[in-house]
Amino acid sequence: MRRQISSWEQVLHQFGLTLVGLFVLLPIWGMVYLAFEGGTMGWPSTFRLWPEEPTLRVFAQVWAQASQSMPFLALLKNSILVSGGSALISVALGTSMAYAFARYRFPGRKMGLFTLLVGALLPPVALMTPLYVLLTILKLRTTLLGLMIVYTAFSMPFCVWNMRSAFQSVPKDLEEAAFLDGASALRTFWRISLPIAIPSIAVAALIAFLIGYSEFAMGWLFVDKSANVTLAMAISGALGISTFSGSLLSALAILMSLPVVALFILLQHYLLDRLLFVSVGD
């Protein structure tokens, strides 16, 4: 195939990769080392590359009291409740819709698909104002259920769009065979298509979950009780205070990101496929 790599090419490649590696890592490290330092207020005022006295104290502190009176786990619970709830609603109510888009050629299908695509690519802010007013009317604005509805509005078009392509990749022969054996449409879906598409649906749900998990701006617009604050909101809230603690902020951010980072590294190829939208044409 291609020429054997020469040693100076090896050096050149490693040098380039190291540069990119530094570009990736240095900013992250700038924040991470703060978490292992005692209570730095604000950002440290001297340039350092290493914590002065490495300690895990801040993590313990954050665990017990992340923001105001809320322990870390309570915040995490809110986050999981809201984003998990919205992911579940999106998937549960979107699955059958996605199936219809994948299987049936009804009039208006193309239009519907395009609307879904636009919905999936809208910025979260696009629906903010009307949802604010609507949820105020429904007296749901400041509740976790209200926030769940807001996040569902963001993630559901995306989920439907994605699950459609999952169902599309189910071989049609399998379904037809089930049909010929006398299975009803519902039964075919339940027994054949859904089990095959489940892994892709799970990944779509995961992405929907992450949309809510890292969202905070809408959160602050809707929620006003400290008991209903999510993890991402707590971090952004801490930043807003002029005397924020850099260490505490970093520790929270690390705790929040670690599970996500692990998931991404494990599932990178699935996630890439799901995030690369396929075009409206089939």
Binding site: V20, G21, M97, L121, P124, V125, M128, L272
Partner: protein, 712 residues
């Protein structure tokens, strides 16, 4: 038949010219006195005096406003020569507020001379393309600066003629010496009326050399002409310089000294406080072009400037093939305006002519494409299918209609009102629908209110009722009412994606090289920015970049001396820093997509290329890139749309750091600036959604084309 077509063509050109003349005369009447008009009219008065007295000394020595060559001012002087003398306008610093009144009818006559040059320019452009003439005729910046007593009208006209005559010379075989001579004459006059417009000289030179040294045409061209082109070029240039001196009486006494004095003035002026206080970003000229003149409501009848710009971008490719010299003009003048530190709006006139031509070509191409497609008979779509599909569709459709579709419609309704915090009680009790219904059925008059005034917090509304305002806020947005935000948003999306794509593809290529050690390790490391939630990524960059106390800033506090430039001082470098953060976020996604794509390219094509003797670069250029690009394009387009919507980065950076004056539309729709201005936010959102839909339509067409390539 042919003569009939010529007749129609000329008729169209004349029609465009008439419209242009009409619009300019209207502007001559209605535009208020602007900065500099008193300066130039005053100079004209003094020249007129000198001419009357046949005082050559005065004409060659008069040096007020010497930074600009005297030709245009002299012409204004000739124009008012026959009028009764009026008291001289006092000389004042050019930074002073515009004069409150100027002598009549001198003022009117001078403005009409300006309008005449402006109309002639439209005619000249309309003769090669009537539509382009029309677009130039209605361009509001063009109208403004060719209806006031400015220096622009003459050089704008002659610079167009320079290029036109040159273009003509290239096309004709026999008499090109005459056309080239005329082109040099016009170039000389251009430089003698305003220096910056002489940039067309560079354009002609570039085109000339391009034609000569283009690789696959060079041999042919040289064989054909058979004589050295350099002689022609030098003769052309010398003639232009000669004309420049001939039309510049002030230079006659002491050419070099006075020329350098006059030209060097601009260097100092560009650094002056007057210019830097304006605080315009480096891309400001694009902002001027992305919207109509904002200062004179009611004067301009049509405001399509934004669309001229859009179609000009779309038409650039066909402009390049059909009128290369105009395409070069757009490029060279664009680059010049980007680098030129003074960003006054009248400078856009250096390129409005090629811009209009490009827009016309683009518009014509777009119109050609819109043919009603033959109705395809798609047997698979049927109403019977709908009967089978509806039970599946129902639950999702109901929910989406409630939480996404209805809010969107409601948003549209809000954008027609003045709904805000003060009127929230009325609004949520149905006031929005009530007002929109009354307004659309014509039962109430739209409230005449400019919603943008609520940017000013002292002019916030006080009424507790919602009012119908009609389409005024949407109309102003779509006419280019917030050009600075729109231009920043587009620039941001394009530049950040270009950076991400370049880095992503380069890294993917490095990782794809067989035998490089630790490829798995590097790949996993590089995925990190993608895996980290966007918000935390923004925090990381805030910690690094925050002015005064971020990592970058405290480097200066180190014991040994480190000096860093103040990146936050101006919009350009600020954008650069933010772009760095955006590249960090976005490149892993493209890297992964490119890695997946590279796996699909078989080794055989490389072997074939190697047999053909392709080097490393040629392999990349002719093998890897054409095969890889279609595979990476979907990822690039996705990132483009995400960059267009980028929100959390700007939000986070803004928290401790309110000096970011530029951010995406998404951020502005949310921004606390609007503090409860629901209607303004809704209007911006509707605008953003429409821009996105256009982007997605385009994206969808491209990626379908891409699929065609992959499966071919």
């Amino acid at each position: 038949m042919k003569s009939f077509r010529v007749f129609v063509y000329v008729l169209c050109a004349l029609f465009a010219t008439l419209i242009a003349l009409n619009l300019r005369l209207r502007a001559v009447e209605q535009l208020p006195i602007d900065y500099d008009e008193d300066d130039y009219l005053g100079a004209a008065q003094r020249y007129a005096q000198a001419i009357r007295a046949a005082d050559w000394q005065e004409i060659t020595e008069y040096d007020y406003n010497y930074e600009h060559p005297p030709l245009t001012k002299l012409i204004y002087g000739f124009a008012i020569l026959g009028l009764p003398e009026a008291p001289l306008i006092p000389e004042r610093p050019s930074t002073d507020a515009p004069a409150s009144s100027l002598p009549e009818p001198h003022f009117d006559v001078a403005r009409k001379v300006s309008a005449a040059f402006g109309t002639l320019e439209v005619l000249a452009l309309a003769l090669i393309n009537p539509l382009a003439g029309l677009l130039l005729g209605i361009h509001t910046w063009q109208i403004k600066y060719t209806s006031q007593i400015m220096l622009e009208p003459l050089p704008a006209l002659t610079s167009l003629l320079t290029v036109l005559f040159y273009h003509r010379a290239r096309q004709s075989k026999k008499r090109d010496a005459l056309w080239l001579g005329l082109s040099a004459l016009m170039l000389g006059i251009t430089a003698a009326s305003k220096y910056t417009y002489a940039v067309v000289g560079v354009v002609v030179l570039v085109d000339w050399l391009w034609a000569q040294y283009q690789p696959h045409q060079a041999r042919h061209a040289r064989a054909e002409s058979g004589r050295p082109v350099w002689g022609q070029i030098i003769a052309w240039g010398l003639f232009a310089i000669l004309i420049f001196f001939a039309f510049n009486p002030r230079l006659w006494a002491d050419p070099l000294e006075r020329l350098s004095q006059s030209v060097l003035y601009h260097g100092g002026y560009a650094q002056s406080e007057h210019v830097s206080r304006a605080g315009f970003p480096i891309w400001q000229q694009l902002v001027w072009l992305a919207g109509p003149v904002p200062w004179h409501p009611g004067v301009f009848v049509v405001m399509l400037d934004l669309y001229v710009l859009i179609f000009a971008v779309a038409g650039f490719k066909s402009l390049w093939t059909r009128y290369r010299v105009f395409a070069l003009w757009l490029l060279v003048a664009g680059l010049f305006l980007l680098l030129w530190p003074t960003k006054w709006p009248q400078y856009v006139l250096t390129l409005t002519a090629p811009l209009s031509l490009s827009a016309a070509v683009g518009l014509q191409a777009a119109l050609k494409k819109i043919r009603i497609p033959p109705r395809k008979v798609i047997s698979s779509v049927s109403w019977r299918e709908l009967r089978r599909a509806w039970p599946w569709l129902l639950p999702g459709t109901i929910i989406l209609a409630l939480i996404a579709f209805y809010p969107m419609v409601y948003q549209g309704a809000m954008s027609l009102t003045d709904f805000n915090t003060m009127s929230i009680r009325d609004g949520i009790n149905g006031g929005v629908w009530r007002e929109v219904w009354l307004g659309i059925t014509g039962q109430t008059e739209p409230l005449a209110v400019d919603l943008w005034q609520y940017f000013d917090r002292f002019r916030r509304p006080t009424s507790t009722d919602v009012h119908y305002v009609g389409f005024s806020s949407l109309r102003s947005l779509f006419a280019g009412g917030i050009p600075d935000l729109l231009v920043f948003n587009i620039l941001w999306a394009v530049l950040s994606v270009v950076l991400q794509a370049a880095l992503g593809v380069v890294v993917a290529l490095m990782l794809n090289r067989e035998g490089v050690r630790g490829r798995g390790f590097w790949r996993t490391l590089f995925i990190l920015p993608w895996a980290i939630p966007e918000f935390v990524g923004a925090l990381i960059w805030l910690r690094l970049l925050e002015p005064g106390r971020g990592w970058l800033a405290v480097i200066e506090n180190m014991p040994f001396d480190v000096w860093l430039p103040d990146f936050w001082a101006n919009p350009g470098t600020r954008l650069l820093l933010l772009l760095l953060a955006a590249a960090w976020y976005g490149f892993p996604f493209i890297m992964l997509a490119a890695t997946a794509g590279l796996k699909l390219i078989s080794g055989e094509v490389y072997e074939a290329a190697a047999i053909d003797g392709a080097g490393r670069w040629q392999q990349f250029r002719y093998v890897t890139w054409p095969l890889l690009w279609p595979l990476v394009m979907p990822a690039v387009l996705i990132r483009l749309i995400f960059a267009f919507n980028q929100f959390y980065l700007f939000y986070t950076m803004q928290v401790n750091f309110p000096t970011i004056t530029h951010a995406t539309l998404s951020y502005y729709a949310f921004s606390p600036t609007f503090g409860g201005q629901f209607a303004v936010s809704a209007a911006i959102n509707i605008f953003t959604v429409v821009v996105l839909v256009v982007l997605i339509l385009w994206f969808n067409r491209r990626s379908q084309a891409v699929e065609g390539v992959t499966y071919a």
